[in-house]
């Protein structure tokens, strides 16, 4: 036994946010698995209730609490762990751990930091210290100096000479970083950076150099290997998280590859890292000069990518090494016969592409640079770069066929796009080539290595060989070449002017099909029984031994994007576990490197592949499964149901025709009418005039949904003719083929979620939760309360009754979700999804009944008990709160609306609403205590509505500030609030200056209308608050609940209780076999 640990505490990374996404669910989960294998008791702190790591079958004890020194210390006092893992929860866990160490808390309680020591972590996070450390062993770093103030930064910058790169310490995702060309830009950058970090680094700009990463592991015996290296297609200046990344490196010679590798080993040894880390290099494309950019002494996005790219379970191994194991003694998890002390040899190429959702944010800039904006990423595997690249582009789920042959991508000014890249840059390259730009020229503009540009050009060449055959079949050889270069049937069809089906028919007629290849970490040098698979047309022999019996295909959730993220990965992983428990063989299909579902030990076979009809049909043909489960991975697989069914794949669960009926607004609306269920009046309109007429008839405001073809054009709410016209004219053509859907927007209404599982139309279990916000805030951005606390029983009764009716009418078998709007007991249905919904992990974990487990049983016709007792009997409350990432989206207006804009969520428990609510709010970045609040409560209606709360705050002795209008109104109602001047207004420092000076603990700013467009002063206040890291509330209901809660409760009242301490009561209460424990086998 290399270690003697009894109980280890693991810190998670809380809600998914830009820069810290699903990868930390993967790493935390693997760490817990490693600890369990050692029979060490595990305690997890992570408020992210949608994750797999907070599933009951993993950690022994789970705390849904903020990753914050106060709460973590509380848990330490209570649980008395003897060890703690800081490196599996991203920057959040790392920084929290550093703070605990500084306070001497860990020492005081005898908690050992496992793996890399705190001192070493400091040395990697403190960019100045880091520089010194590397100087000690003569390793090159960029010429730089660190500053703690604006003045210092200015002086250093002029010394180093513009352009300079600004980087913040103790940060990730490039927060606060950027290249500055002049002093003005520098000041702006540094001020914002210092609001988030105590330290900024001013350094020489190396923009345009190659950016290369190595993933390194080291054990206590000083064995040290690089598991994977990666090359960024986008050169230095674009964050690795914003870059297209390829593994292994493609343009490095043996000398370069091993020179950098050797430096990596020297650095990691000198720093004394134990476990896993990531090191980033800048490499001069014209000489052998290099610089070390940084070391991340923890699991990271890159390490998750490297794990999936190589099949080497970095997080699992890192955890074992932290416990003192030798790399030598750990088996290679893929071959099971060889050692983990080796460097995987790939016989394929991997391409990762980030997914952006920038169009979802009002006023957000679409430019990409040294700080992260992407919300997710995809990884594709192929035996040609072109093949992997085109696969990856399709995986983004943005509707593209690949690199070329796309209707929806239109690149504006090509040259501008190449010079100043946005999220569209990759498409600008083929556009430029088509427009006659030379590779040389594109290279000058983008600094992208010509090797990549030539590859992109190859794709165009292949397309040119296809085009002459437009209209008819093309010769077999040419089609085969297209497939080898990653063209999809749809793409080929598009180029030949035929539909996807005919293109597929042609391919099959030629007998062209992909082969299955294994990922075995050793490039076939040793036999390996691996179940980690991908498809390629660049091969003649399939590694597959033949199909499994009793297998079931589970479709994953694909790329994380706004609206679909880790919650669906939890559903898929849980589904696979249940299938195994029931004796089936789950086959997972997914391509998201940030997920647990793409860990090959979670399923019997893992296809790291596209979720498209073409790919799934091929897998289905090879695997001959009992059927396909489409209801777990969210909207991506759900949208495939009908297509797959028509292609002859057997869909398990609710019939595809029913799914279609619910998805289609017309048929669903008709169904509701037939069942006598209310819905907001809506109409599909084909002209602006008709739209106005409808709006006047039903009365403003109206909700406007442009048809989906107008990509990027979001939903919105119009309060008058003016807004409606402006919006519709922006939505380009409103016409027969591009109709617009208007619905009566119901104001001051409650929104209610109904999550349930049914079999043959009969409901087995249901859960109702209410939104804190009124309808009008997207359900994904809403604060959910379960069970409901402020909804009339009569309303709840109606909701359940309607749920039963719809389940029966659609003969639902499996999970489903209905959204309701309720006002004075008039209940209306706004939509219904015949699949698992975002809230499933939340309600499952809060009430202790695993809805997914139940659903899978129903879907496969296995015994599934009915859960009679209603969640009303819960003795605790769960609150789910959204996490926004506005800080990272320069200029974006941080308001909520009918379009979802949050990037993640947390879910916390309490014995009453306020306890759970405060815990959740603290988990997403709000802070206690609150002593000084800035109020700006918007329209009169809201001002009146908030008065009582303002009084409450005043009585609690909280100092109130307010913009003039609000201050005046409050004064009339006996509330004293210091009026602060607007910008450019006389009378002392204006509101923006006060914000920048961090004079407020909280800002409450309620927007005037649903759809603020112009750059109002309110916008400036909201944005300033975000940029200077001041907590901001923009919803009236949330403001009211939060202010009440913080008056009624203090930190001390927030119980440090584990999930079991709350939920156990529930599981006893109902004699349910289907508790979360059931599938923990």
């Amino acid at each position: 036994m290399p270690h003697a640990f009894r109980k280890v505490l693991i810190l998670g990374s809380a809600a998914l946010k830009i820069g810290e996404a699903g990868e930390f669910d993967y790493s935390g989960s693997q760490a817990i698995k490693a600890l369990k294998e050692e029979r060490i008791e595990t305690v997890l702190i992570n408020p992210n209730i949608a994750t797999n790591q907070t599933s009951e079958h993993l950690a022994d004890i789970i705390y849904l609490l903020p990753i914050d020194p106060y709460f973590v210390e509380g848990v330490i006092r209570k649980e008395r762990p003897d060890g703690i893992f800081l490196s599996f929860g991203g920057q959040t866990a790392l920084n929290c751990g550093l703070e605990l160490a500084r306070r001497g808390c860990l020492e005081a309680h005898g908690v050992a930091v496992l793996g890399t020591s705190v001192g070493t972590i400091e040395a990697t996070e403190n960019r100045e210290l880091f520089k010194q450390k590397l100087a000690e062993i003569g390793v090159q770093v960029p010429r730089s100096a660190s500053a703690a103030s604006r003045g210092e930064a200015q002086r250093l910058a002029s010394q180093i000479g513009y352009p300079v790169m600004v980087r913040a310490g103790f940060a990730l995702g490039g927060l606060g970083s950027g290249v500055c060309h002049d002093e003005g830009a520098l000041i702006d950058q540094v001020d914002r950076a210092l609001a988030h970090s105590s330290q900024v680094l001013i350094e020489e700009s190396l923009t345009g150099w190659k950016e290369i990463e190595y993933e390194v592991v080291r054990d206590v015996h000083d064995n040290c290997v690089t598991v994977c290296n990666m090359e960024n297609l986008d050169p230095l200046g674009i964050h690795t998280g914003e870059s297209i990344v390829v593994a292994p490196s493609q343009t490095l010679t043996n000398a370069e590859y091993h020179h950098l590798r050797q430096i990596a080993l020297r650095v990691i040894r000198h720093l004394g890292i134990v476990g896993e880390c990531n090191i980033q290099f800048a490499l001069d494309p014209g000489s052998d000069a290099y610089r070390v950019i940084e070391v991340n002494a923890r699991l990271s996005r890159s390490s998750a990518l490297a794990s999936k790219a190589t099949g080497y379970p970095l997080a699992f191994i890192a955890a074992k090494l932290a416990l003192g194991h030798s790399l030598l003694d750990l088996r290679n998890q893929v071959t099971q016969t060889t050692t983990s002390c080796f460097e995987p040899a790939l016989d394929y190429v991997v391409v990762k592409i980030p997914r952006w959702d920038l169009t979802k944010f009002r006023k957000a800039s679409r430019h990409i640079g040294s700080s992260m904006k992407s919300v997710g990423e995809v990884m594709a595997i192929g035996r040609r770069f072109e093949e992997a690249l085109q696969k990856a582009l399709r995986m983004l789920e943005t509707g593209v066929h690949g690199l070329i042959g796309n209707e929806q991508v239109e690149v504006g000014d090509v040259e501008e796009e190449l010079r100043h890249p946005t999220d569209q840059r990759i498409f600008a390259i083929p556009a430029a080539l088509a427009a006659g730009y030379t590779i040389e020229r594109i290279h000058e503009l983008t600094r992208i290595n010509k090797w990549f540009l030539h590859k992109i050009n190859n794709v165009l060449k292949v397309a040119d060989r296809l085009r002459p055959y437009a209209g008819g079949p093309c010769p077999r050889a040419i089609l085969l070449e297209a497939k080898e270069f990653g063209f999809s049937d749809g793409q080929v069809g598009h180029l030949l002017g035929m539909d996807e089906a005919s293109a597929t028919k042609m391919r099959c007629a030629y007998g062209l099909a992909p082969v299955v290849k294994q990922i075995d970490t050793l490039a076939a040098e040793y036999p390996a029984q691996t179940n980690y698979l991908y498809l390629t047309y660049n091969g003649t022999k399939s590694d597959l031994k033949g199909p499994l019996d009793r297998s079931v295909l589970v479709l994953g959730s694909g790329v994380y994007r706004i609206g679909s993220s880790v919650e669906f990965d939890w559903c898929c992983v849980t589904a696979a576990r249940t299938l195994r428990a029931l004796g089936y063989r789950p086959i997972m299909v997914n391509y998201n490197p940030e997920t647990v579902s793409t860990d090959y030990d979670e399923s019997d076979r893992l296809y790291f592949e596209e979720l498209t009809l073409e790919t799934l049909a091929e897998i289905y043909a090879k695997e001959q499964p009992l059927g396909v489960i489409v209801s777990m991975g969210g909207q991506t697989p759900n949208n495939l149901a009908v297509k797959l069914h028509q292609a002859g794949l057997r869909i398990l669960g609710t019939a595809p025709s029913r799914i279609d009926q619910a998805e289609n607004r017309r048929t669903f609306s008709a169904l509701l009418d037939r069942l006598g269920i209310n819905q907001p009046v809506w109409e599909e309109l084909t002209s602006i005039a008709d739209a106005k007429a409808f709006a006047r008839r039903v009365g403003y405001p109206v909700l406007v949904r442009p048809s989906y073809v107008l990509s990027g054009q979001a939903m919105s709410v119009a309060s008058n003719d003016h807004e409606l016209t402006r919006f519709l004219s922006k939505a380009a053509a409103v016409s027969r083929e591009y109709p617009v859907v208007l619905s009566k927007f119901i104001e001051d209404a409650k929104e209610i979620e109904f999550d349930a599982v049914a079999r043959d139309g009969e409901i087995l279990a249901d859960a109702i939760s209410e939104h804190v916000e009124n309808a009008g805030v997207h359900s994904g951005d809403a604060t959910l309360v379960f069970p409901p606390q402020r909804t009339y029983l009569e309303t709840l009764r109606q909701v359940r009754a309607i749920g039963r009716k719809i389940a029966a009418a659609l003969c639902i078998t499996g999970p489903f979700n209905i959204q309701f709007i309720a006002r004075d007991n008039c209940v209306r249905v706004i939509e219904c999804n015949l699949r698992a919904a975002r809230s499933f992990p939340f309600i499952s974990k809060v009430c202790g009944v695993n809805f997914i487990d139940l659903a899978v049983r129903a879907i496969l016709g296995e015994p599934a008990p009915k859960v009679e007792s209603s969640p009303m009997e819960l003795e605790h409350v769960g609150v789910k709160a959204p996490q926004f990432s506005f800080t990272r989206l320069q200029g974006a207006d941080p308001v909520t609306g009918v379009e979802m804009s949050s990037t993640g969520e947390v879910g916390c428990l309490g014995h009453d609403f306020e306890e759970a609510f405060l815990k959740a709010m603290l988990s997403v970045g709000y802070r206690l205590p609150v002593r000084r609040i800035l109020l700006s409560t918007g329209p009169l209606k809201n001002k009146i509505d908030f008065t009582a709360n303002a009084k409450l705050l005043q009585e609690a002795g909280i100092t109130l500030f307010a913009t003039r209008g609000t201050a005046a109104f409050l004064a009339q109602h006996g509330v004293q609030a210091a009026a602060v001047p607007w910008p450019l207004e006389q009378g002392g420092p204006d509101v923006l200056e006060l914000l920048a000076a961090r004079q407020f603990d909280l800002v409450i700013n309620i927007p005037k209308s649903h759809d603020e467009e112009e750059l109002t002063n309110d916008y400036l206040i909201r944005r300033k608050a975000v940029d200077f890291n001041v907590p901001l509330i923009t919803d009236l209901q949330v403001a009211k609940r939060f202010t009440e809660a913080l008056v009624h409760k203090s930190l001390g009242d927030l119980l440090i209780g584990s999930v079991d301490e709350y939920v156990v009561s529930r599981t006893r209460l109902s004699e349910q076999p289907v508790s979360l424990r059931l599938t923990a086998s």
Binding site: H221, V225, P248, T251, N254, H258, L265, A524, Y526, K541
Partner: protein, 351 residues
């Protein structure tokens, strides 16, 4: 024009020819390294072999300019040594500041045939289970017989004819050239010793020197009887001896141990080797099909390193005398330089 790889067991893999338009026969081996094709192709140990690279994209960074000096910094010998090359994709638009020609042009210029568009993973799986196999690259409808290079004295073909002297320095090391990689010589010169490279069959008994390095080389150590005899005589003297790869096998034979052909040869840059009696493991570059039979070591010899994957011997050393050999390549190129320190240790041994 099309071409194919034909294996002794009858398997045929069709692809596109590049490089020299012609056919060749030899022993088919694979290498799993992801970088370093210029180094690989010029490694004399590959003489007579058709090399299959498992990494699919080859030629990405082109081929650096050749330099007249034998020790020019990129190649492991003055020309391409493999009989033929098999890849998934050969890159036609190389991109690197040091590149002076494409892989195809280089092969063509040196009259070596290449074959692209091959499922190299499938070929590797065959070779893995069959052990290495005879095969041929057939261009068009040529007909050529199979040919087993292991029955020929490959070493004699790749070795220097006359002694060659390099560098100056108080200490002099004799390198017995059985197919020596340039970087072995470079590694010695870098440490300030003078080097004399002698032919494989050079009598060593009365060669005045401070140490002897037995180089790597192609084929079966059993075919190097002469060298073995000379080394056996050499061991009578106390001169430090350092064997590398084939050199280590020759040292073992000279010491009276036996060698055998491995089922799965070690061919890659990721071979983990453990220093006996420690927990220290080094990632090494390897390319060999034969190994020393540890059990056959005489009592005054000890195993030094072993392979962490299959436990086979990776190095031997004498209990009391300065005689050592390693199965892997401390000189790397291609591959990791984790074990370069062995040259320091050797140079320190020089009296």
């Amino acid at each position: 024009m099309n071409a194919c790889l034909t294996l002794k067991d009858g398997a045929v893999f069709r692809g596109r020819p590049f490089g020299r338009k012609g056919s060749v026969a030899g022993e088919v081996v694979f290498n799993t390294g992801m970088v370093g094709y210029p180094e690989c192709l010029t490694d004399p140990s590959y003489s007579g072999q058709i090399l299959v690279l498992t990494f699919p994209l080859i030629g990405n960074y082109g081929v650096p300019a050749d330099e007249p000096d034998r020790l020019n910094s990129f190649f492991e010998s003055e020309r391409i040594r493999v009989a033929g090359l098999v890849v998934m994709e050969e890159c036609t638009e190389a991109s690197h500041w040091q590149s002076s020609s494409t892989l195809a042009d280089w092969l063509a210029f040196q009259k070596v045939p290449g074959l692209a568009g091959i499922d190299t993973r499938a070929v590797t799986q065959k070779l893995r289970t069959a052990g290495s196999m005879l095969g041929k690259l057939v261009y068009g409808d040529d007909t050529i017989p199979f040919r087993d290079p292991n029955h020929e004295n490959l070493v004699a073909r790749v070795s220097v004819r006359e002694p060659v002297r390099y560098g100056t320095g108080k200490k002099r090391v004799v390198v017995v050239d059985c197919g020596c990689k340039n970087n072995i010589i470079r590694s010695l010169l870098r440490r300030g010793v003078a080097v004399t490279v002698v032919p494989w069959d050079w009598p060593l008994t009365d060669e005045a020197c401070d140490g002897v390095v037995l180089s790597n080389g192609p084929g079966d150590p059993q075919t190097c009887g002469t060298t073995v005899r000379h080394v056996r005589a050499l061991l009578a003297r106390e001169v430090p001896v350092f064997g590398i790869c084939l050199g280590s096998q020759i040292l073992a034979l000279a010491a009276g141990a036996a060698t055998y052909k491995l089922k799965f040869g070690h061919r890659g840059q990721n071979q983990p080797c453990v220093l006996h009696g420690t927990q220290r493991c080094f990632i090494t570059s390897q390319n060999h099909g034969y190994a020393v039979d540890e059990k056959s070591l005489p009592p005054d010899w000890l195993p030094w390193f072993f392979n962490a994957n299959d436990g086979t011997n990776e190095g031997i050393q004498h209990r009391s005398k300065p005689f050592r050999g390693v199965q892997f390549h401390p000189e790397a190129t291609p591959g990791p330089c984790d074990t370069e320190f062995l040259f320091d240790e050797f140079v320190d041994l020089l009296s």
